[in-house]
């Protein structure tokens, strides 16, 4: 029972952290909640679909379908988060400042919300499909444990969701002056962490080399399976034994998004100066 709770918690946690941060980062965008719930629902439907096509996915790309699928899902999420962050550098402050939004902002907001839907849907899909498979395995191997399984699954889910909610509520308490810096730094680190995970799947599939592996070993100091390790993994992509290639992915994505944000705010400011 306890093992089941931990596994479900671990799977839910990553998605919950992402949802908490993204929900906070998109506050003030009209109609956001509907898109958020839509993302979760689509993600859940998708994860059931993925779980039941595991076998066909696994046999794709000469047995490396699962790795490619995961890397692709992560890659799309990274691009979406990058786009979100760059868009937010110019629109975020306006959105939060005025509760009432003018026409163009609503249109921009809809575009932004569809990004939100995809990012959340993908996160739920990835973590959800593994949970479905795991629970399915228990349910079929031991008929008596079905109710225990449901119970453990519900506790794990609630615990994971609670962490996501705490993160969200905590972020909303950050003063507006620092709010956008705080959320965009979190989204930036989230995206970099996902890029590093994508690299790990590509290494596992032998598509790219691992280079130095492991680059460091902090498993004695802060094990990735510990609660703080799991939280840090969800937040900033912490790993106790990453490979050199993962680090390259992490740094390149981090730098690329940061530069994109800098460039966007520079052109935005230049435009504003030109108008006035």
């Amino acid at each position: 029972m306890f093992g089941t709770i931990i596994i479900v918690f671990r799977e839910v946690l990553e998605a919950a952290i992402l949802i908490g941060i993204v929900a906070a980062a998109t506050r003030g965008i009209p109609g956001r909640n509907r898109w958020l719930v839509g993302g979760v629902v689509l993600g859940l439907l998708g994860s059931a679909l993925v779980a039941f096509s595991t076998e066909s996915i696994a046999t794709l790309a000469s047995g490396m379908g699962q790795e490619l699928f995961n890397a692709t899902v992560l890659g799309i999420a990274v691009v979406m988060l990058a786009w979100h962050n760059i868009w937010m550098t110019t629109h975020g402050a306006q959105l939060a400042a005025s509760a009432k939004s003018v026409g163009s902002e609503i249109r921009d907001g809809t575009q932004e919300c569809s990004i939100l839907l995809v990012v959340i849907g993908l996160a739920v899909l990835r973590e959800g499909s593994e949970t479905v498979l795991f629970l399915y395995g228990i349910a079929t191997s031991d008929a008596n444990s079905a109710s225990t399984m449901l119970m453990a699954g519900a506790i794990g889910l609630a615990a994971g969701a609670a962490v996501g909610y705490l993160l969200y509520a905590g972020l909303l308490r950050v003063p507006l002056r620092w709010f956008f810096t705080a959320t965009s730094v979190l989204v930036l680190l989230l995206a970099a962490g996902m890029a590093s995970q994508a690299a790990r799947f590509l290494i596992q599939a032998d598509i790219i080399p691992s280079l130095a592996a492991p680059l460091w070993d902090t498993s004695g100091l802060l094990p990735a399976q510990s609660i703080p390790g799991m939280l840090l993994h969800g937040l900033i992509g912490y790993e106790d034994r990453p490979s050199g290639m993962q680090m390259i992915f992490y740094v390149v994505v981090l730098a690329a998004i940061a530069l994109g944000m800098k460039w966007a705010s520079a052109t935005h400011n230049a435009k504003r100066k030109g108008v006035s």
Binding site: A58, Y136, A205, S219
Partner: protein, 113 residues
């Protein structure tokens, strides 16, 4: 613009790293079997400093997730099927792994020498 140059440099660096990646075909292959939620053999001896192609055959009808923090690997293996997982090159040492879906019984270790 400095930033544009930096981005193109990083992209170029990345591309080079992808190209120079050695695609050695002579991977050393090893096999593991999952049966009744246990790994056979529970201890697998592999050469250190070489990339290993690990074939894991799941003979159970339920899915299993091969997971190892020490090897930095995780892969779901559907019931009654075989998965390939590339590991290493490893330094000498012991690398425990588990079947995450049945962690109580599904435990094993890869020993690199």
């Amino acid at each position: 613009m400095i930033s544009a140059r930096l981005v193109s440099f990083l992209i170029a660096l990345f591309a080079v790293l992808l190209l120079v990646s050695p695609g050695f075909a002579d991977d050393t292959e090893f096999a593991l079997v999952i049966k009744d939620h246990r790994f056979q053999p529970a201890e697998l001896l592999v050469p250190a400093g070489k990339k290993i192609k690990l074939k894991v055959q799941n003979q159970d009808s339920t899915p299993e997730e091969f997971e190892s923090h020490d090897l930095n690997r995780e892969k779901v293996i559907p019931g009654n099927s075989t998965a390939t997982i590339y590991i290493g090159p490893l330094k000498e040492g012991r690398y425990p792994f588990v079947g995450e879906f049945n962690e109580k019984t599904a435990q094993g270790v890869i020993v690199a020498k």
